[in-house]
Symmetry: C2
Subunit: 345 residues, 2 copies
DNA sequence: TTGTAAGCGTTATCAC
DNA sequence: GTGATAACGCTTACAA
């Protein structure tokens, strides 16, 4: 079966390849008579013509592909529910612009070369990076190259476009909920170590909420999670053994539902009860959180919109549009379920 | 910054572009003196030369990209943990062969055109399809086109290469475990409707296990899940209300951990206890299953290997290798945790 | 309003 | 062993 080229379409429509290209790409400048346009469109359709991506890319210098790059370890990826949640919105917008999504995992430490590779090979037109960290010098490369990049998450003092939620205020909201319920001593397990901006911000929100309520910030009840349930289990266990039985806390803010899952198991394994002994608030509202026992009170992220907006801005950047508000923050919502019980008496 | 082309490398090494191409692609036939080879390699390195993907694709007729296509609804994708679990192995092998992974969601109903599009545009060299169904006529298109395709999952009587687990025997193993514990009346909720081969196979394994134990197959305690926890909740609730209180069952086999999560919540909401009132076995061993309350006994899938093998076979097909065993079945493992308790007395 | 022709950066087919 | 030279299929000035 011979390939159908734009030449064939041109021949059938009785025009030149130029005209075919102009029509099919809907080029703004050039005026094409409605009649020719229709003729071209019909011929293309009749022949089942689909432009070859590689040829188009070579000539136009556009791959029409954007990359989503994840730098977490395989193990973390596996329990990462975020990816699947943003995928929907992201692919929706990517399709809207007639593009495609390439997904890649990068080994930590080899990112610099990988970015260069992707850039030089022109495999992708732009990049979405999830979960930025402070002082990631691989990012410098991207900045210097001027490679269109959108961050999912925030990175202060950087020139990258970013799409994020306001982690500080979301965490604030979560902790305030706990305080409103009468809790005075609230432990915290972060979602990750503080080199991740999201983790630092969520901890900051926690701190702020305590402060505004006139409550002390006590480092002995702060722990650092590491994305997965295992870390939540370990950290909560530590908290329980080292602190809880001496100086009890009545609630915990766990800055990730996935981490909270492990923490919950640790609490249960010590024979303690949620929310009676310890009230819990999570973060992210992953799909399973409404089905845990008890259902988890948490912060809902607008994941579809996060994905959609990241894609939209990236593609607009690629198309040469000037993005006015480089950093946008989407709204979160406190979802109250049953892991906090009622007001303390 | 001017782009570095193979011309530049050729010039610097004092050879022709042909030679550069031969060296860099490690072409088998042509003999290149070790000395020239080194010279070319060094020049390329010094200049930071990276071949342009589009040009390569155009000339070689290889995009060096494989596609992973998902046809579930956005809502199902969001709670799909399988994707992230196979991603690791899949990307590992894709990188091994110097390729990339493109991911796409297809709206149900528009698959035929989408496949044609992908094929005609030569955007991808081959396709991995997850969760095939009986009588999916979009698949016929792929078969007719002779487009390299690997199925994750099985489709009897098809010519596609497939990588799967033996769902029948895995389900058999799960149910046999329950029977071994003394259960005689075991309900079942499938992972999806029976147009999905995996769902049909798992139900078949359940049935077989009952039969081999001389237990009756009772349709009144069979329900069909739909990938997500909501469906599990609804079906278990129905089972409880319509059957359990009249003719109690003592255990349930839920052919998906995600669905089981919902079922578990339904059981709890009725004030029943797992495993005391109802023992539960799931399927998939998703990351959260060891942290549910109680931890879920389930069937572990070799997700990394599933991804790896699917990618490996696809790429070998693309490279023109002849795959001897078209259908491979990977081993599963029964993971015993606490959702079945001890032997019934 | 439409056509001509020159790239885009590779790979592949032959000669030498 | 190595080098011209012709594809590959499209876009895009520029000309008509």
């Amino acid at each position: 079966m011979k390939r159908v080229t734009s030449q064939d379409v041109a021949r059938k429509a009785g025009v030149s390849r130029t005209t075919v290209s102009l029509v099919l790409n809907n080029v703004q400048g050039a005026q094409i008579s409605e009649e020719t346009r229709q003729r071209v469109l019909q011929s293309a359709n009749a022949l089942g013509y689909v432009p070859e991506a590689a040829a188009q890319a070579l000539a136009s210098r556009r791959a029409k592909i954007i990359g989503l790059v994840l730098t977490r370890s395989p193990h973390h990826i596996a329990s990462d529910t975020f990816l699947t949640q943003i995928l929907d919105g992201l692919i929706e917008v990517v399709h809207h612009y007639g593009m495609r999504l390439m997904i890649d995992l990068l080994e930590v430490g080899h990112q610099k070369e990988a970015y260069l590779q992707l850039f030089r090979a022109k495999r992708i037109d732009g990049l979405i990076l999830s979960g930025p960290r402070f002082q990631d010098d691989a990012l410098r490369v991207l900045e210097e190259l001027g490679f269109p990049t959108v961050l999912m998450g925030n990175l202060p003092n950087s020139n990258f476009c970013s799409v994020d939620v306001d982690n500080v205020s979301a965490a604030y909201k979560a902790v305030k909920h706990l305080i409103g319920l009468g809790h005075r001593r609230i432990a915290c397990i972060t979602n990750a170590d503080l080199s991740y901006t999201a983790a630092a911000d969520r901890l900051q929100g926690y701190r702020q909420a305590l402060q505004d309520a006139g409550l002390p910030y006590d480092e002995s009840i702060i722990r650092f999670g590491d994305f997965d349930p295992d870390s939540g289990y370990a950290q909560m266990e530590d908290l329980l053994e080292k602190v809880f039985f001496k100086e009890p806390f009545t609630a915990a803010f766990i800055a990730s539902d996935v981490v909270a899952l492990g923490a919950k198991a640790a609490i249960r394994d010590k024979g303690l009860c949620i929310p009676r002994d310890i009230a819990l608030v999570g973060f992210d509202d992953v799909p399973f959180s409404r089905y845990t026992d008890p259902p988890l009170t948490t912060i809902r992220l607008p994941s579809h919109d996060l994905g959609w907006n990241a894609g939209d801005r990236l593609i607009r950047m690629i198309n040469g549009e000037n993005i006015e508000d480089k950093h946008i923050l989407l709204e979160t919502e406190l979802v109250i379920r049953e892991s906090c019980g009622a007001h303390l008496n």
